[in-house]
């Protein structure tokens, strides 16, 4: 067994202070990545600094937008009704990460600090315009989540810095978001591809959409979109993020520009999918080949967009049929 000293500071300041004086130290939160790496002997720290007992890192505040502590577990996010309704993409990710045993301890801060290209919460945080608050020996600063991820396992964190919390703005009515994790099996799997979208619609006659009932049928996406075209729903703002298609989770900014200001139609979503696929640089890996990932981006961008729209049009309904999108 690799020997290390285990430190359990009670405050953020204490943790940052310990990191500054201890030799070869590593922060540990839920431990579901760090403990595995230690066991695999890929990580041999002399000191572990636990963030689990720092109360200031565990909170969820929905008073203005959404703010939560970095050591908030996936389960805590998952069980929060306001997040499920207003920031659905995030819940889509937290509800399908690992197993319940993992979600009960794994933290959102840990998920983004591990910075895997496949990190499930990364794409939702990208489309939700999240800001990462970090604190370190030189003080505190905020980093847009798009600037936070820099490569596989690489983040914008300087030595000794830790993530304190995340904040997401309030998007108001007529905004919906979704994350689709494309996997071979439904549980305990990493994504072959992950796509998140957020869309804000300007709706003419309040929120009533005539063909809303189409969303609870098994009709094809193209049929639903053809009907929606008649409603002339204009897209005010759009975000698309993709995981496992580049060294880091990335926004598809050109595809977002395609959507902005346009009226929802089958052709528009088709084009957005194609442009998003052209922005990705997927590679062959054990989970899927590059050509397959490129093709699936086109499909999943459309599905995620329509799932986001479903959440605007039928906010109080469960997504049905679940398997379709």
């Amino acid at each position: 067994m690799n020997r290390y000293d285990y430190h359990q500071p009670g405050t953020i300041e204490e943790a940052v202070g310990l990191m500054a004086i201890l030799d070869d130290a590593k922060y540990i939160a839920g431990g579901t990545d760090v403990m595995v790496l230690i066991r695999q002997k890929k990580l041999k720290p002399k000191n572990l600094i636990s963030l689990r007992n720092i109360k200031d890192l565990v909170y969820i505040d929905t008073a203005k937008g959404l703010r939560f502590g970095a050591a908030t577990t996936h389960s805590a996010i998952d069980n929060h009704d306001i997040i499920r309704r207003n920031y659905s993409a995030l819940t889509d990710a937290t509800s399908h990460l690992g197993s319940l045993q993992i979600r009960n301890v794994a933290t959102i801060g840990g998920n983004i600090c591990n910075a895997a290209p496949s990190a499930d919460t990364a794409c939702p945080l990208l489309v939700l315009d999240a800001v990462v608050s970090v604190v370190g020996p030189k003080g505190a600063r905020d980093i847009a989540v798009d600037d936070f991820f820099q490569g596989p396992g690489k983040t914008a964190l300087a030595h000794g810095e830790l993530v304190k919390g995340l904040s997401i703005p309030s998007f108001g009515e007529n905004t919906g978001s979704a994350y689709i994790k494309h996997t071979r099996r439904q549980a305990m799997d990493l994504p072959i591809l992950g796509v998140a979208t957020r869309i804000t619609l300007s709706m003419k006659n309040g929120a009533e959409v005539r063909c809303r009932d189409m969303f609870c049928t098994i009709d094809s996406i193209s049929n639903i979109l053809a009907k929606l075209k008649e409603e002339e729903l204009k897209i005010d703002e759009a975000r698309i993020a993709m995981g496992v298609v580049a060294p880091r989770p990335m926004r598809a900014k050109k595809a977002e520009a395609v959507l902005t200001g346009k009226v929802v139609s089958p052709e528009l979503f088709e084009e957005a999918g194609n442009v998003a696929a052209s922005e990705a640089q997927p590679r062959d890996s054990i989970r899927g080949e590059a050509w397959y990932r490129s093709e699936m981006i086109k499909v999943l961008v459309k599905r995620a967009l329509i799932k986001s729209m479903d959440r605007i049009i039928r906010p109080d309904e469960a997504i049905y049929p679940e398997r379709l999108w």
Partner: protein
Amino acid sequence: MKREIGFTLNGEAVRLEVEDQWTLLYLLREVLEMTGTKEGCGYGECGACTVIIDGKAINSCLYPAMEAEGRAITTIEGLVSKDGELHPLQTAFINEGAVQCGFCTPGMIMSAKALLDANDKPTEEEIKDAVAGNLCRCTGYVKIIDAIKSAAGGR
């Protein structure tokens, strides 16, 4: 470096010396010699080491023993009542034939217990989600799900 910590184990207060690099699983199996909790993969993939901490199912192989301080831990050994009567989940697993080699069983039962403690009328989907992190290589999932359903119904 050793440190003394205190926690509640299956309803009883425990105080003992723990080394920094121990996992909770190591503490349970090798130090306390409570071998009901199993070690499968050791990487948090298989769920054989599942125990309940403060009402939540977790993988004890990834849980630093030091973090047990002040918490309430339940293991499979804590399910039998003082007079030796099996827990309804254990009885259900036996009656439904949900046990083959038995290696995954303690973890399965702990995941199921955490679920039923929080939700006494789970749907089949909720049951499947609760045990999705527990692998059974004898492929007994159908009977395991049946057993959890019958334990939930029998309460």
